[in-house]
Amino acid sequence: MSAAETAPAHAVGKGGIGAHLAALLIALLLLFWTLLPIYNMILVALEPGDSVFSGALWPETFSLENFRIVFTQDHWYLKHFWLQMLNSLIVGLAAAFFTVLIGSMASFSIQRLRLRYGTLLSNTALLSYAIPLSFLAIPFYNILHNYGLLDNLWALIIVAVTFATPYAIFIFSQYSASIPIELDEAARIDGASVPQIYFKLYMPLMRPALVAVGTYALLLAWNEYLYAFLLLSSETTVTVPVALGYFLSSDDSPWNILMAAALIYSIPPLVIYYAMRRHMTTGLTVGSVKG
């Protein structure tokens, strides 16, 4: 792979059949590599009982038994699986809602109301976006312990909102630059109050960015493991990734059931990701090269 592919469209494709075949070969290798661990999940999830140890490269006997076990919570590791899925969903939706609300209010204030020290504030937010999350896990645990929020879903919602909001403020600031400030001024001349401008003008115009950031926060919360593991403890409050982690605590884990549960847990974010792909990329690409 070299520079040929970076050339504009008309220059590429001139390589003819040979180049096309080489590109196809690379595609096959890439897909093999990309899909390998995912194939492994499906393979193990379809294996009945003890044939996990059979050493097969493809399922010799298909069995949906593992999925039945997950669906009916028919295993001691999975007694509360659907409740845990609900916990993950609640945390994800709440994180999305509060991130969008708090982030849009802050960005509205900084960008549209020209808050004093607004630039300083958004720079500080940028700074906190760059803190590695796991580095704050220990003080976070102690603090939420002091607030009496351990083993409470709110603890995880707070974490997700805290870490998603700085990103939200950036995306919103970037996006709102494309909405003329004259609209706000016109609305104000017509007698609209500031909250009216926020709810009736700013929010509707910001919709694509709100959707992108909401999706981002939802996925962030749904995928979070470390904080969920530390902050939540009882079987009925943990989210799914924590429950999946429990499987690894013993040596004789039922790997095939674990993989079936892991697959079911992975489907919602995948559906959301592919449905929202267009929105997500606008959020990510806006101004990626301006320098």
Binding site: H20, S134, S288
Partner: protein
């Protein structure tokens, strides 16, 4: 915002911003009200934990205990391997892949769609799958080796160097797609006219990359590399789920060591000391990133 207005009426806005006259007082009041929820979150859950964490870990005896532990050096080296080798390999592969994925073949969008899967899927299920795949006795990799070459594959997770290699390899598997998407966006934003102009000037093949793509992407590439180093410094899941820090605690990184010391060993001060020992690396990276992002107006 400031940029958009300044393009429209530069002299006026430039003198106005920062020192707004008092006539907009109610607006300023509302501005404060609207920003309060974020300020509250920031103080309670960013400033407070950071301060508290620094206070917990800035204990000389804890730092001494940390540095006296032979495990610490192993961990520091592993962290550097992931940061220097892992991140740089990842960015370079992502840069190549982003060019490949922009080739105008009809089937390319399909490949693109599948290639982002490792990133789009939650980390925990895939890393658990990788852990099983690498199992020396029953894992898919060694089954594969046995089926095709009839030899016993190595114990990927039972040898310290192979285990660390596996961590780096599947760290790449998970994160190359994300940065590829970023670089595809970066390349797409390069104006076509630049390539056309370069072609008229006689640039061919590698020269296109050398004189157009590279200068246009350099700043994005640098920022992404630094940002990724910062995030990788805090990467807990990869090591936790692929090797669990094993065999014999040989694959820990600072992020997993800190959590282990704090919650398994039960010494939060020691755990925080591990995190604080990364600050001489983290602070310059963050400072550089913020400076560079402000200067270049690049955003992710």
């Amino acid at each position: 915002m400031a940029k958009a207005t300044s393009e429209r009426a530069p002299p006026l806005t430039r003198s106005d911003t920062g020192r707004q006259p008092r006539k907009l007082a109610p607006e300023h009041l509302w501005g404060v009200v609207f920003v309060l929820p974020y300020i509250a979150i920031f103080l309670l859950f960013v400033v407070y934990p950071v301060g508290y964490g620094l206070w917990l870990g800035a204990d000389w005896t804890k730092l001494q205990a940390l540095f006296a532990d032979p495990l610490y050096y192993r961990t520091a080296v592993n962290t550097l391997i992931l940061l220097l080798v892992g991140v740089n390999l990842k960015m370079f592969i992502a840069l190549l892949l982003s060019g490949y994925l922009l080739q105008p073949y009809k089937w390319m969008p399909f490949v693109f769609m599948l290639i982002v899967l490792p990133w789009a899927m939650p980390a925990i299920p895939t890393f658990i799958s990788v852990r099983w795949m690498l199992n020396g006795q029953w894992g898919l990799i060694n089954n594969f080796i046995w089926t095709f070459w009839e030899i016993e594959g190595p114990g990927w997770l039972t040898s310290p160097s192979l285990a660390m290699g596996s961590v780096v390899t599947f760290y790449l598997w998970k994160w190359v797609p994300f940065w590829t998407v970023i670089f595809v966006a970066g390349r797409t934003a390069i104006p076509k006219e630049l390539y056309e102009a370069a072609a008229i000037d006689g640039a061919r093949g590698l020269q296109m990359f050398r004189f157009v793509t590279f200068p246009m992407m350099a700043s994005l590439y640098l920022i992404c590399t630094v940002l990724s180093m910062i995030w990788t410094l805090g990467d807990y899941n990869t090591v936790r789920f692929i090797t669990g820090g094993g065999p014999v605690l040989s694959t820990h990184v600072l992020a997993t060591l800190g959590i282990r010391d704090a919650f398994e060993v039960g010494d939060p001060g020691l755990g925080m000391a591990a995190v604080i020992s990364a600050l001489p690396l983290l602070v310059p990276l963050v400072a550089f990133l913020v400076w560079k992002m402000n200067k270049e107006h690049v955003q992710l």
